[in-house]
Structures are given as C-alpha cells and as structure tokens.
Symmetry: C2
Subunit: 324 residues, 2 copies
C-alpha cells in the first residue's frame, strides 16, 4: 500500500507520517511507500521502516496534482491548508490553496481513473455562531471565516466526487488540537495550548479569557488516530454524508487548569497569568463550545479519555516525560 | 438603477424581466437600464418602459464576467444554471457553468470594486434525504446531485463574499416551480406541472407516482416576487447567513388534483392518467416534502395563498384565462 500525505510537513502530517513509517503498516496492509508532500520540505523521518519520499510543490499549480497522483497512491491524506488567520488576511491565497488546491487534487484523481481513499482534514470552523449548546451532526455550516468557507466547500466536493464514484473520500472536522507543540503562536486560539505547554516548560503563560470558557479539544495523538481510522474505515457504513465531526472533549479553561494541576502540581499551574483581553474574548465567544458527535462515535472514532490524558500525552510525546 | 439579469432567457428570468420592464421601477427607484444576459438570445420584451439590452455569452469564459459588470449594475440577478439532469450527466459542464461561472461573477464584482446587491437563485436540491418531515432553516446541506452540490457551494461563496464586504448577496432556495409553462419535459419532477398544465390545455397527462406524494411548490409569479423582494430587502436584517429557504406550499398530488378540479371541473381533472413508474417513485422519495421556512417569512417573503391560486395563476398568465 502506497500512501501520500499532502501537508506532510505540518504538525499533524508529520506525526501521522512518523506513526505510519514506524508501524510499516496500516490496518491489515503493509505500507510499500510513503510520500510526504508540502510547500516546504519536511525533515527526514528517523527509523522509518518503509521507503519515504519527500516532495515539495505548489498543489494548485497546473499539472502538479496530476504528477502527485501519477503513481496512484492507495490512500491520500490531504491536510495542507492556509490557516484561518492567513486565509482571512489574504483572500486570494486562501481560496487558491484551500479551495483550488483541493479541487485540483480531486480532479487529478478523477482523471487518473482510479478510486483511492481520500482523508480530508476539515475543521469545526465550518460552523459559525450562533449555535446550540452542543452542535449535532445535522447542524448547518455557516462559516464566519473564509477558511471555514473553503473547508465547507471542500467537504461538499469530497462528498460529490465520492457519490459519483471518482474517489472514496471522508472529511474529518478536527477539534482544536491541544496541546499544540512548538512556540506560542498568535492565533486567537493559541492560549488553549499555551496555558498547558508553557507552564510545563517552566515558562509563564497568559490566559486572555475567563476560566468558564468552554471549548472542544483533541490531542495530536487522537488526531493521528482519527486519520488512521478514516483511512481503513468501511465507508459503506458512512453513506453519502461524508463529512464527520470528530469526537473531542468539551472542557472549560478551569477544567484544563485543574488537569494541569493534577498532572504537574500547583507550582506549574501557578505559572498561568490571567490578563483578560476583550478582543480575544469576543472572538472566542463566537466559537463552538461542544458537539454531539454521535455519527463519528458510532463509526468507531474515539476521543481522548480526559483532559488529564491530553496533558500526559503532551508530557510523553513532546517533553520525554519531563516537567520543568 | 441599472439591473442585470444573468439567465435572462430562462423561464423565471424572462418573467422577472417582463415585470421589471413593465413597472419601470423596483422598490423606490426608477430602473434606468435592464440587461438580459444568457447563453442564448432572449426574445425582445414588448412594451418595455425602460431601455432593455439583450446580451449573450459564456459566463465562465475569461474576461466575460468582468465585461458584464463593467457598467456596474446596481442589482444583479443570477439565475443561470445547467439544470439538475444535465449537470448530473455532464460533470464538467455542470461545474464549469454552475460553480466556475458563479465564482467568476463574484470575483468580477470584487475586482470592479463596488458593492451591488446580488440575488442568487439557489435550490432545495441543496438538501438530500433523509430529512425531517419539515426541513428547518438550520438543517444541513447534503446534496445528492452535482447540481445541488454546486448550488450549496455557491451559497457559501455568496455568504463569504458578502461577509468580506465585496458585495451584498442573498441566495434564495426556490421551491419547485409549478405550474411550469411550456412543453412537458423529461425531468423527474416534470409531472408536478404536467398534471395541471396538460389537462388545462385539453391534453392527457401521466401521473407516475401515488396521490399521497407531497412536495414543495411555488408559482412562477411567487418566484418573481421572491426575486424582487430580495433585491430591495434590508439585508442588515438577514445577517451573515445569506442562504434563505423560500416559503412554498407543501401539497400532496391529491391536493393538486383537487385544486385543479375546483378551478377547471371534473372533466379536466379526468385527463390525468395514473401510470405508476417505480423509477420516478424512487427518485421522488428522496426529495424534500415540506419546509419550515420561518426565516424567509419573517423577512417578508410570501408563499402562494393556496394550490388553487397556483392553478389560477397559470390560467391567467399562460392561458389568457381560457381552459380547454
């Protein structure tokens, strides 16, 4: 089995690639080749048990997607995207990469005349406030960003190309990924990870919203599992509605901090400094708080066990078990 | 006020144009020019009180949309589309006209740097079974045709371009138009109109489904009113969710026939021949039956008063009041 990861240098793409390369198989089948494609070249995977190829390019450029699927990868993970803030600032770039790039990929597969499994990374940004306390599987997509619009459009395309038999696609609406490794970023959602990651690394973190703010989270490890499960799932059970809200954990900031305290103690939890920011508070008030993701649960997708587990996953996977 | 109708040679486009040209005004404002654009040239409008220009072209062709909005029409009605059956048979053509054409129009407006009102004709085909008995305003779009997919995508684009301030758009999900004038067509939905139109013209009509089948209807006159209302509506009241399900009448085939009998008598109603067609029955079983269109009602859109009124509208507008 030959696998292509588009967005292979990104955070989830990289972790997914590491996992696949280490396992050497996916589901019942051995992996014969793994291609990591991105706009920038990813780092070489250490200890890979399968041949790994690194490729770079510009997905929506003419002929690019066709070249990418020329060796007919059995499974395509499409995780590449211009992120929300940038897509909002640069309207053309967002549509070009997030919509035209995805459409070029779908069309290249159709033209290649074979039917791979496609796992498309969508987002809860397809939803826009106001919404019910827990958003159900049949709630409508009314994105309030261009990024969310592009993801919602691609979900529709994936379903239509699937319905027509051109490919076998599934769109996964990922929760906010927490704890996101790396440096603190300026994204409005950054604090959800910052308040866990920074204190664990011995640094102070700023909390710009009230402790009562609730949000929908999944660990990077859970996200990788969603991808792997979607790649081997019996899609006959999914039916024609190919966009699935992934199960996450609805937790408040207070519960996040409580979990941090349990895992790392009072001293670490005390590194969070409250500094309310009305601008961030307003943005976050428009975000989903919780979902009722019963379709995905019925299809075997599994959320993290608890936010404590999410904290422990970060300590294990990113800090080698060591807390400052 | 300068008005552009894209799809001006189509059934609704034509009726809308006739109405606007006859009134010479829309809402508070006088119409200074009316351009009817279509892939084929429409017939000249008799008795127009405003200058009418007929143009033909291929909307998604490079530069075409830019030329079309070069004189900055204040109101753009976009009704042009490859219909459902053809978009399903010719995948490329459907996406090219219904998606790329619409996107080219939105982009041309953005590049022109002014903010017209755009009224986009969407469809209840954005919904796909299974659905609740009456589909509410927050029910999700899961189209089961490429046509429905293209309409759903365009709704998202119209909302995003509106949110960004590039135009002021509203998408109207039209009910099935009944009674559709002209020759019986082969569309699976054709019988809803055939069973009224043909008997009124002294001809026999075939009913391929059970009398208990319920569907969602609006007269051509109501559709024209939806368009006119959307063109002058205060869109601040619409908010960012720019796709609106138009109010129709949920009536069964039995109720349709009952209305025909009331308007035209037993002799006319007896011209309907029941000839169940399992193929059509299966298609129709996947269609929406009824909606709860309360957002549109609150915004002042009005359904036909009764199916009897729908029959009378056909007799008045298409038959000059005469029943065979």
């Amino acid at each position: 089995m030959n696998i292509l990861i588009i967005g292979g240098a990104g955070m989830i793409g990289r972790k997914l690639a590491e996992r696949l390369a280490r396992d050497g198989r996916l589901g019942e089948q051995a992996i014969t080749g793994l291609t990591l494609y991105d706009v920038v070249e990813g780092a070489v995977l250490a200890g890979a048990r399968v041949p790994v190829r690194l490729r770079t390019g510009d997905l929506p450029a003419p002929g690019e997607a066709a070249r990418l699927v020329a060796d007919r990868p059995h499974i395509i993970f499409h995780l590449a995207a211009i992120v929300s803030g940038e897509a909002e600032q640069d309207f053309d770039k967002g549509y070009r990469i997030n919509l035209d790039g995805t459409r070029a990929l779908l069309e290249a597969v159709r033209q290649a005349g074979y039917v791979p499994r496609l796992v498309f990374a969508s987002s809860i940004a397809v939803f826009g406030a106001p919404f019910p306390e827990a958003i159900g599987d049949e709630f409508f997509s009314t994105p309030l960003t261009s990024y969310g619009t592009q993801k919602a459009i691609c979900e529709l395309l994936v379903s239509d190309y699937t319905r027509k038999g051109f490919l076998d696609g599934v769109s996964l609406r990922l929760p906010t990924i927490c704890v996101r490794p790396g440096a603190p970023n300026k994204a409005a959602s950054g604090f959800f990870s910052n308040i866990i990651r920074e204190p664990l690394a011995g640094k102070e973190a700023v909390l710009p919203v009230a402790d009562s703010v609730m949000h929908w989270h999944a660990s990077p490890r859970a996200a990788v599992e969603f991808m792997r499960h979607a790649a081997t799932l019996d899609t006959a059970a999914v039916g024609p509605r190919r966009a699935l809200t992934m199960p996450g954990l609805a937790v408040t900031v207070a519960e996040q901090i409580g979990a941090l305290r349990k895992v790392a103690g009072d001293k670490v939890a005390a590194r969070i400094r409250r500094e309310p920011d009305p601008f961030v508070e307003k943005i976050v008030a428009g975000w989903p708080r919780a979902f009722d993701a019963r379709r995905a649960l019925a299809l075997g997708f599994r959320p993290d066990g608890s936010f404590e587990e999410i904290v422990r996953i970060h300590v294990e996977d990113e800090l080698g078990g060591r807390i400052e």
